[in-house]
Subunit: 409 residues, 2 copies
DNA sequence: GTATTTACGAACGCTCGCTATCTATACTGT
DNA sequence: ACAGTATAGATAGCGAGCGTTCGTAAATAC
């Protein structure tokens, strides 16, 4: 690493490349086992080479051998089939929120082995560390994976994360959280590469992986807070470290960012608390509306969308107002990024089509290429899923020296 | 190519990788010749391997041999030094505007061999094709490069460009231009891969190359029209094809994009014509101001900035207004992209520090991480330079099988 | 029970890169 | 002026890996 060497080397390098090529081919066909003949075709290598590589990978534990498929009714000697041995390098994803800690353990092939959630009423930073340890151990136990087997771990934290130092810069919800070195804590438990990233970024990664393929994705996490992650051709865009902070977009013509305020203007305008507040005000102004009826004193964000879905004009006006503010704030970024799709996740995404259509209508007036506008299908597990995804990417990037670009899938 | 093969192969593949590795090492140290010993160190390969590769590359014409440097006062037998033979694969860049056609021919090493400009008073689409042919031939003659030697060509056109079909979608300035297949025309002249891209994109590529290194760059072209290109770690971000169209960002609270209007709201608000119009109005309202004095009847955009530079409060107010509108329009994208730098080029960039400082002040209020704000150093040649740059990238990508990622420069 | 089909396994030959050695060249010190 | 030395280039031998070819094993079809 200290040397500026590039790619080439001796024949052992060539062997490593070819082994990686075989492993990559197996990985691409995810859970489906492959016959050696298929590997020969996909890699373009000769059969002995593939066979040797497969042997090596079997010995190293990366592949597992299957018996001949009974369903495979073909002539001739039945082929040995191999597939990824997921337990070879399981990974761990960690989602830390102010009120909830979620830990997932995943297969090398991307299968979830376990997923453990723990909710609580606002922990302190110190308590949180303890909870994290407990939940991690629980998830490991459930997955039946010893801690030392974990090959990589990724933690998600709200706030702006410095990718390299692993420090969190800006977290309002948990007092004292930014002083904690989460990476160090997790590394103490796991002894493997541990990375930390923004929760919106990781959710975006999960959504991009679920959608598959290439293109640009803008994944908005919309709850009390408002953030977004950008994934371009499968890679996360971080900028200098704070990319996607749409919560701080100014809305009014004279808005500015208040450095002492942990929330941004757009969060204050259309965050779920703001939506509830708008709803309450509208209910007060229109006491006989369906909205007031539904919500009562404790009117909630969900009530606003429910009433709007029932075609209550008062609630619809609130939704319109929110959608308009959101769309106008997001439109410049849509013009600049020109994403293939904009996916909305987080608590507000539960609003469903009512909100989505309103945003879509507004966005259509303000953009050139209109991206697909969708709701996230992953719901609240998006962040953990993304964390596991990133950990997997890390493992593969370490194991595969070849970037291995294929034109066709 | 028809097979979905990946990377590996026999030993000849290994040889190709190593040769490419050597070639890449030479390329990285751009115009400076390298000794074989240095290549050994940089590639990490053994000396005989490098020597063989160098021989092969010399035979193929990719490298040229230098005599021992007389300035090199070192002990021992003087080293043979090799450098890129630029003439091996010269490339051509083409910038087509409504009033000007520019063609540049560049070395494989990035040295400009020739640069020919031709200005005219608004050609028709047909006339433009003729002019393009002439200017290309002139540039080839000046560079002393036969047309068939050109290894790749990139053309820049205003408007939104479909990367694959090579069609231009939206060009207001040249009537009938979108119907012309520019790629086909150029390919008829050159017989090599020809690509077409947006002018703002190519300017961004040139600026990014000049700045060097990694990071995210937002390069704004600000003249009568307003566009931007995004370069992330050296790669152009295209989105679905229309990324960077900042001219269409809505400014007023009720602005929408008019599909029949070839200009966008922000262009209409702060394009150079708008700036001149604002200046004229201000001069009318304040007849004894320095601005009115400077500009007179034919008040120009440049006059506004000149008067502002002389601390005329009337002109400064105009600049403030423009800067404010621009910054507020750009701020959301800066938050989302979080670029390392924002570079402003195009005609308005000649305004200099007056405008830049005003924008910087505004942007500071509206963003979290404040990117470096700079003026483009490349002036009007940015687009051709970027076109040549992209053509070079294409050639290298074709010639180098190894992506060859180096951590250190 | 035999023929056919498919896949695995082993031996041979080829190419390539690395290590080690030798030769060539120019500067330096006596 | 001549020998010494330091640096760079050229050459042989070795090892490793891949690809081709042949032989063998196991299942199905007739």
């Amino acid at each position: 690493m200290s040397k500026g060497t590039v790619g080439g080397g001796g024949t052992t390098m060539l062997r490593r490349i070819n082994v990686a090529s075989v492993l990559d081919a197996v990985r691409r066909s995810a859970p489906a086992p492959l016959r050696v003949a298929e590997l020969v075709e996909r890699t373009g290598l000769a059969r002995p080479t593939v066979a040797q590589a497969v042997d090596e990978l079997l010995d190293a534990g990366w592949l597992q051998q299957h018996g001949p498929d009974s369903a495979d009714r073909s002539l001739g000697r039945p082929a040995i089939r191999v597939s990824l041995r997921g337990r070879a390098a399981p990974v761990l994803g960690l989602d830390v929120g102010p009120h909830r800690v979620t830990v997932g353990v995943s297969d090398l092939a991307g299968r979830k082995l376990s997923l453990v959630r723990r909710s609580g009423p606002g922990w302190t930073a110190q308590e949180l560390l303890g909870v994290i340890s407990e939940v991690i151990n629980e998830a490991l136990a459930e997955a039946e994976v010893p801690a030392e087997d974990i090959a990589a771990a990724v933690a998600a934290s709200p706030g702006i994360v410095d990718e390299h130092t692993g420090r969190v810069q800006l977290v309002p919800s948990v007092p004292g959280w930014s002083a904690i070195d989460l990476i160090k804590h997790v590394r103490g438990l796991l002894d493997c590469p541990v990375m930390l990233d923004n929760d919106a970024n990781l959710a975006a990664l999960a959504i991009a992986a679920a959608r598959g393929g290439t293109g640009t994705l803008l994944a908005v996490q919309w709850g009390e807070r408002l953030g977004a992650g950008i994934v371009i051709d499968g890679r996360l865009h971080r900028g200098t470290g704070a990319a996607g902070e749409i919560g701080f977009i100014a809305t009014g013509p004279d808005d500015v960012i208040n450095p002492d305020d942990s929330r941004g203007p757009l969060e204050r305008a259309v965050g779920s608390e703001a939506i509830a507040a708008l709803g309450r005000q509208a209910a007060l102004d229109n006491p006989q509306s369906r909205l007031a009826e539904l919500g009562g004193e404790q009117l909630d964000t969900a009530d606003v969308f429910a009433a709007a879905a029932e075609r209550d004009p008062v609630a619809q006006a609130v939704v319109q107002q929110v959608a308009r503010a959101f769309a106008r704030a997001l439109a410049p970024s849509v013009l600049v990024l020109d994403p293939t799709a904009v996916v909305i996740g987080g608590g507000v995404a539960r609003a469903g089509a009512v909100l989505l259509d309103a945003i879509s209508d507004q966005l259509r007036l303000l953009t050139l290429n209109h991206p697909k506008l969708e709701l996230s299908a992953l719901a609240e597990d998006a962040v953990v899923t993304g964390a596991m995804r990133m950990a997997l990417d890390e493992v593969w990037q370490r194991k595969l020296p070849t970037p291995a670009m294929t034109s066709t899938t």
